[in-house]
Symmetry: C2
Subunit: 354 residues, 2 copies
């Protein structure tokens, strides 16, 4: 049995009372931090950084040394699963992740198999264990994965930032093939997150970065459905502790009610929705995580503080709110802005938790 020194995040995700609103930032270990860039340079490249548990531990801890964050999040890439499936992940300089062998042919799709996390993703589990040791129960460690639909986007398109033509063509022309990919991927994500939990992850988050490009009905059938499958298969307890789960569909504000029914404990919100409206719609069922526009961190301490206050006030009194950005922190963010944000959340939120 572990005894966390600061379990505010876990309590907020389970809608239990807390003394203040906990805060962490998506992509909090990243390129906006000079110390991260130094470690990355030592590692050689991004993938070597992810695949070496010493480096992954080092960069996971960096933002915690600077800021009084309420959680650590495993440093890894969302594409570890398709990489372990043998699609050949690589990073072209300045171009983002790509796959050498994107999935296009039926034969390749039919021969896709779920990787064994203990074998093909051992480096991730080693990183989780090592980070937990290093954290020494200071704050909880969040594990994560991409959603099946989001992973399938990269696997089929071969890269991110596209017009989603390949995957949508498959969705409307050969839904059977896409469902097969999503089934295998959902099984892979379930195994992967459960292995992270067994290795020490104390909460898990599913990043559905691209679900928002779907139509309302295709979202239900091709993204949410497979996230539900994962949530059904997830270990909800480990070592006697509840493991809260968060689902974040970027651009999913229209679909909050159905996401809240998926079996997750909390919803991630991007910055396009007013958190007061989100709480009205689904706050009786789930906790909410978000939702400051990361671009606000390009402005002044006064504006950051005002915008933090607005979100806290919009959420209102009581538990069930984890403060976060509405998307990953930009590499161009001044590190002092993150400090302003975190301190503002901690000091201004107390009055909502009396």
């Amino acid at each position: 049995m572990t005894k966390l020194k600061n379990d505010t995040l876990l309590r907020a995700l389970l809608k239990q009372p807390t003394e203040y609103t906990p805060v962490w930032m998506m992509r909090q270990a990243g390129r906006y931090l000079p110390e991260y860039n130094k470690t990355r340079a030592r590692a050689g490249d991004f993938l070597s950084l992810c695949k070496n548990p010493d480096f992954a531990t080092e960069v996971t801890m960096q933002p915690l040394e600077r800021y009084s964050l309420d959680a650590a999040i495993l440093f890894s890439d969302i594409l570890t699963i398709p990489d372990a499936m043998g699609l050949g992940l690589y990073f072209a300089e300045g171009e983002g992740p790509k796959f050498e062998r994107p999935l296009r042919e039926e034969k390749e799709i039919r021969s896709l198999t779920a990787p064994d996390p203990a074998l093909h993703l051992k480096y991730v589990m080693d990183a989780v264990s090592q980070i937990r040791k290093t954290l020494d129960n200071q704050v909880p460690l969040i594990g994560f994965s991409g959603s099946p639909f989001t992973l399938a986007c990269y696997m089929i398109e071969g890269r991110g930032g596209t017009d989603f033509r390949q995957i949508k063509t498959m969705l409307y022309k050969r839904p059977d093939l896409l469902r097969h990919i999503l089934d295998i991927t959902a099984q892979s994500v379930t195994n992967y997150l459960n292995a992270q939990i067994e290795s020490g992850a104390q909460a898990v988050m599913i990043f559905d970065t691209w679900g928002g490009v779907l139509s309302h009905s295709a979202y239900q059938e091709f993204s949410l459905r497979y996230m539900k499958q994962i949530l059904t298969g997830l270990k909800r307890e480990h070592d006697g502790e509840r493991i809260p789960s968060v689902v974040f569909t970027k651009g999913g504000g229209l679909w909050l009610e159905s996401i809240a029914e998926s079996g997750c404990d909390a919803l991630g919100l991007d910055w396009t929705i007013n958190i007061a409206e989100a709480r009205n719609r689904v706050g009786h069922k789930v906790a909410l995580q978000g939702n400051l526009d990361p671009a606000i961190l390009f402005s002044t301490p006064e504006v950051i503080t005002t915008e933090v206050e607005k979100i806290l006030k919009d959420y209102g009194s009581g538990s069930g709110h984890v403060f976060n950005l509405g998307h990953g922190i930009s590499q161009f963010t001044p590190p002092e802005s993150a400090l302003t944000l975190i301190n503002a959340v901690h000091s201004l939120s107390k009055k909502y938790h009396s």
Copy 2:
């Protein structure tokens, strides 16, 4: 006084009874049509095509010769206004539009002035008049402009498809400067659309392509507010005919109620919202235009027909629906798919208008 042979679109936009659901497609004159590509090759490049009224008329008419569309839309670019402001629009091969002199310095911003449409945008007005003559009252002609916020994105970023870092930094750090740009641009758009109406446009549409990247409150203050300003200044009648207006914010599904209050006659919908939900929320106030995912046109005639039927059924009985895609038609669309779509809308919609 004109007497349109087919005024179904105008009636639907004003929620008056029609015999069937009218249909047109955003970017219906475009690269998916071989005849368009031939004209463009003759014109030399995209800008020359826009700036020559003969060519603009020719490509505007092309989809009407192929399909029984219920409207023509002026062939032009959304960036004609900033081009007329002197920012130096150019198209780098395969890279989309760019500006030679993006707005960054306060001095440049303060010296921005609204172009005179009769002078600086005469080529657009000439195209509108010539298209109207060529149309010979067959179907109505839609005029259009980008929204002030969307134009400002290009003007400040210098190009599309960015992370919106420059404009959002200005929004949160120097809102006074951004408001100045938006004020001048809103005045320019009002003048521009009114000149199009005087030249013969029978309906107008404001394309807010990028408003959806804003937070809920920034959207109200920095995008919707300036569209309202335009709508207030728009000529609502010309030659004794009502000129309906459409506002389309891509990714604006969360904000339909406030857009419906803006003074427009119809809302454009992207494909992420269920049109039944949209009608429930705002159908008592405005007509709705949309909202098939353009990617559905990559599939088979059977799937296209089924998906068209779903949207017609979701909208349900009665007037106030203009069928459209939820975004511009892709250059990779087979022209036969557009034919399937248009014929399906016409034949399947009759039963909802009895």
